[in-house]
Symmetry: C2
Subunit: 407 residues, 2 copies
Amino acid sequence: MNEKKKISRRTLLGGAAATAAIAVQHAFGKWVQRPAVISQPADPTKVQGPPPGALGTRSPFEQLRKTTSETSSRTPLQSLYGAITPSDLHFERHHGGVPAIDPEKHELLIHGMVDKPMVFTLRDLKRFPSFSRICFLECSGNFRGNRPTLTPQDICGLTSQSEWTGVLLSTLLRETGLRPKASWFLAEGGDAAVMTRSIPLKKGLEDGLIAYAQNGEALRPQHGYPFRLFLPGWEGNTSVKWLRRLELSDQPFMTREETSKYTEGIKDGKIRQFSFDMDARSIITFPAYPQVVEKGWIEIRGLAWSGRGKIIQVEISTDAGKSWYTARLQEPVLDKAHTAFRYLWYWNGENTEIMSRVTDETGYLQPTMRQLVEARGSSMGGYHLNPITAWVIKKDGTVLFRPEERK
Amino acid sequence: MNEKKKISRRTLLGGAAATAAIAVQHAFGKWVQRPAVISQPADPTKVQGPPPGALGTRSPFEQLRKTTSETSSRTPLQSLYGAITPSDLHFERHHGGVPAIDPEKHELLIHGMVDKPMVFTLRDLKRFPSFSRICFLECSGNFRGNRPTLTPQDICGLTSQSEWTGVLLSTLLRETGLRPKASWFLAEGGDAAVMTRSIPLKKGLEDGLIAYAQNGEALRPQHGYPFRLFLPGWEGNTSVKWLRRLELSDQPFMTREETSKYTEGIKDGKIRQFSFDMDARSIITFPAYPQVVEKGWIEIRGLAWSGRGKIIQVEISTDAGKSWYTARLQEPVLDKAHTAFRYLWYWNGENTEIMSRVTDETGYLQPTMRQLVEARGSSMGGYHLNPITAWVIKKDGTVLFRPEERK
């Protein structure tokens, strides 16, 4: 075929000229007889397409959607690639719906145990030194596991990842000053629920961000426009959206969200309160229900993350947990960030079960549901459940979630 | 104010209770008298907001748009934050408009100097080992400089950044095999222009990607759906969209796009051909026309990138190029990626000129327009122009682009 270079492009694409049919192999499929060159231009090449527009659009063949309930919407993890979540597919969890906020009428008040109470408009916040980081955000109630026909979106679609930009809270607190006893602050949102959480000041000073942008653009209303608190690696509800007030204090405020909610049962009738960190977790997003696979090479793909730092390893089992192999991690592996993992596997067509488990830089290894039950007791609630997810692969190629008893 | 913790939240937010007005300082503005607590809930807190939807939306206060011409659209760099470009704001440059492609009817043929010609469907491509990277993409014609009222979008809005996911070209070429003499390949698109470029095989094997996803989701029609070639750091037109054919050869194909176009004049009546690498460039996106600034602290912000690797330094001058200071770079600094830079500057309110210049890891320093003219001669064309961009700041706070003679 090396004489091809002597054929002009016009001849090559002109249609009638190409007569020799040669064997062309489909990558995954049977051999087919096919012309060596594309002798008939496909339809799109015959039609001048529309010019560039002010905003791009999705292909009608790729209609992505979140699943929704009255208070939340879930990211379709099984339909996404890489580590960034498109902003319109970022999960949502609201306590009073999405408020409509005019940024000119919205301010952040910082008061309480500060030297100098101050208010900041969006315009003010943008004038301070800014900071960006790529980071996941996950709801502490991010688990479902009650039936085999669950997708990754159903099981843990309350996690998403963005590049967040804003001003570090520590920068603002240098302006207000801090009284010596200040050790907690209340974060209050401007939504109909007036969402409030108490946050240890230490976390706020460490890496708390007042975020006003997400994936390059202004925050969207669903994610806290005009600005929100963002606490990397902590349960999502603490990253209070539509932030309007921070009150410094020397103790937590014991709001509804940390007394009646967002605590979880552990052993002996006790509960855990202020359980902020999101534990390390991973999930295989391919293959997963409702996908169907074929015998042969399969790249097992998924996401792993930890609220406590970088992940250092993801292991894959393709024999129901008997043996484990190390997956490849997509660089760059970032702190408190969804990290894509991949593992090439030859499926022999027999019934089996595949699963992933992650280890983070603190040495924490993702537990099984059985280990979670053992540690927390049968009264454990629905928060901070990060068990290993197992997918059953059946001979016919169907993939099903494997539910586990939580008693 | 430390007795605040003893006041119940209900009292605090209840309205009439709060009477004491204390001095609260606006971050950038005059002192105002303001209640110490938010005594009247703002409107949004009185109204239950709409529930989560299947797709998020932008705030009506943040209507971002590309500027468009018949063949291109430009990213509003001055309105964005961080390093990721939202996919619907990614610049476009088409040669035959945007084709409407059914992914079931689109295939990639690899033939020519290969052992085994093969065709790949989108489904096939997704079965191979995948790879993701965050990378800029820039049009080689990305420069305008003819008048003072140009925004960063006008000057160089033909560059954008995404997380790209696909299969490495080297992976596919291991399947087809390569004949010993193969050293170039033709990449052909399925648009109305049947866009073609000749690419050295070395580049394809090094880091060429057949990309099918962008910023987490399937490619959009404007960016090559169902898949495109992506050549990191090379001029955008070589990353052929709607890719349908790769033909391996032992020499370039000398298509229209590399003979009559995409070459640039240098000295003595000569032209440069196959000038693939995008040279290092930076631009200050704030402050920039049409923004207006106030005397005082200003965080100068912008983007820097190089098609030849990582950037190692961005320097800022606030005195028309007499002295230069090092800007902060936003981590992680990635290979061939837009990198956000920031430099805190106190503007004394006098007329001045600010500019940025980048150095990449090859030691290349971004040139001035004068240096470009000296190197290439007065007949140089409109491609690969990456001069230092200077913004004039006037006493009244207005910011204007400073055009430079290209003769």
